[in-house]
Amino acid sequence: MTDMTATYAALEPSRAEKFRQRTVPLIAFAVLLLVIPLFNPSRSMVTLLNHMGITIVFALSYNMLLGRAGLLSFGHAVYMGLGGYFAVHVMNWVADGSGFWGAVPVFTMPAFGFGAGALAGAVIGWPSCRRAGTPFAMISLGVAELVAAAGFMFDSLFGGEMGISGDRMSGPEFLGLSLGPVDEVYWFIAFWTFIGVLGTYAFTRTPLGKLSEATRDNPERVEFVGYSPQRVRYLVFIFAGAFAGMAGGMSAVQDEIFTPENLSLIPSGAILIATYVGGIRYFTGPIMGAIIMTYMGSNLSDYTAGWLLYLGLMFVGVVMFLPNGIAGIVYGTTDTIRAGRLGEVWQSWLIRLAGLVLIATSVITIVEVAFRWSEGYGEVFEPFGLHLDTTNLLTWVLGVVPLVLGVLLVLKSAKGESK
């Protein structure tokens, strides 16, 4: 019998494994959050980091639906928006400072956002979650359009076009943070990002979290082990709404403003792209996606007018060729290295990398030249001192030859791998 218990215990990951796989990454994440300020980032860098934190929580909440429960939503920004709006209202009550509200620190806003998001999820989820798949997606689209339209109609709640702004420096200080300067806001965001990551991760470890995965894979079977798939989806939906609302509460403090535009299809589409590009099959996928997309969204436009096109190409590329997203590459690579198979694959990887670089060369050439041509100011794309205008033969060579070569190389490496 002792023997048996030992075998049973071996099923579960050992304490050491659990610690290594679950606790260490979380500690590393916390340490990372703590050491970032040591690098003395600029204020715009901190602002960007803060937005990354917000997007990370938002993307993780979105992946509770898309990745874990298999529910494709086109209206997730509704919950972040409603949570955020509520938090801004609370901030204004705090600023008025009477009675109970006067004692609430602004630091706790994400908790209010969490509550409002959960409530919104509970109300809207009730009709939406009765069906999964395409009907769910379509309902979420319809609801998003309706809520966004309502955002412009009810000025007292949403403040019309200009939205509602608040002041994060009101109310009692918490942990000695005035939340005025953006680097103090960093600590606030870091704290709540950690809570968000921890919370969404913990959720995946609960019976409900596991059931949501089961429901994604096989809703019918779930029904025959005693669970209502609709109920599972509904509960997951409420939690996803809650964490989205929490991200909204973080954003309310960081940006001190919410506008009806925050409820619309545009941010909903953006979070879908970020999450998917990151990789919906992995817990860390949305985190990677959020970091990359926030960076690209705010900074890529400094370098090229074609940033939206690059974003679109990247998204379509991921959908077509990398269904597991960036996280898929990262984990695939580390797994291969860990398994000691680098020796077998490095050649094919190198070929593929070379192919991708060639393809990127062509794509960038084409896009940049096309954008300059389209603007018609006679500006010319001049990388590395080359003068690439539309009449230059080299432009066309660079636009076509590396593309063809690159595709051939990638195909070759794919063939090699399948052997």
Binding site: T206, P207, L211, N218, Y227, S228
Partner: protein, 252 residues
């Protein structure tokens, strides 16, 4: 004593097609009851009616005396009836252990719990391990279910079905597509797992049926034409005529 499962004049039609035309059946507690019949006789439909997947057009299904027809599958499951599927119906993206655990969870009282760490639920882990051990999948516990060989997937199907500890178990062709040795192992497993429980089984393999069942019902064109012990069924002229033919001789 109330029968574990009782069907009264159960009927189901899809449009004009009458698939089940008035089935009466009573399965006693602890009985192993097999349903046989030619293809298209409505065996799977009957299972779907009992387990709540389909709504009966008329008639009643009672589980331990309580009316269950008209209830949702998950409600019926919670009342103590669990079923398996003819085509493996497992959670392919999860590991074997997680699959079984899904089956265990509700019965251990962890409904839609979102405040507990699933890894810390000791009873759940032990029960899961116990069932994995019982069905012989302990070694493959951490494999993704999709990677299991076919026979193991069928076994997993049964494991999920019995995991919740239901008193009444419905197995839909548990040995379909298995080799002889695999079938033997499956039968042994079913015998072991259904000890003290009520079992209703649909099966094509007559060897399995006659070995396993206490009683047998023969379903032809949506009607039960005979119910009895294996001997009675073997001797029943109507059954021979309608269905068994020479096959029965061989199986016996």
């Amino acid at each position: 004593m109330t029968p574990a499962l009782e069907l009264t004049d159960l009927r189901k039609s899809f449009g004009p097609a009458k698939i089940i035309q008035g089935v009466d059946l009573s399965v006693g507690k602890g009985e192993r009851h097999a349903i046989i019949g030619p293809n298209g006789a409505g065996k799977s439909t009957l299972f779907n009616l009992i387990s709540g997947r389909f709504m009966p057009s008329s008639g009643e299904v009672r589980l331990g005396g309580e009316l269950i027809s008209g209830k949702k599958p998950y409600q019926i499951n919670r009342m103590g009836l669990s079923r398996s599927f003819q085509v493996s119906n497992i959670f392919t993206n999860m590991t074997v252990r997680e699959n079984v655990r899904c089956g265990v969870l509700y019965s251990m009282g962890y409904g839609y719990s979102f405040w507990r760490n699933i890894g810390n639920l000791k009873e759940v882990s032990e029960k899961t391990a116990h069932i994995l051990d019982e069905v012989g999948l302990l070694e493959k516990a951490n494999l993704p279910a999709a990677l299991l060989p076919y026979a193991d997937q069928r076994t997993l199907e049964i494991a999920i079905t019995i995991a919740g500890g239901a008193d009444v178990i419905l197995l839909d062709e548990p040995t379909a597509g298995m080799s002889h040795s695999e079938t033997d192992r499956a039968v042994a497993l079913i015998e072991k797992a259904s000890k003290g429980k009520t079992l209703l089984i649909v099966e094509h393999d007559m060897g399995v049926v006659f070995n396993l069942a206490d009683r047998i019902s023969v379903l032809v064109y949506g009607e039960i034409i005979a119910t009895g012990t294996p001997e009675e069924i073997r001797g029943d002229a109507k059954v021979r005529e309608a269905y068994l033919g020479e096959e029965a001789e061989d199986a016996a």
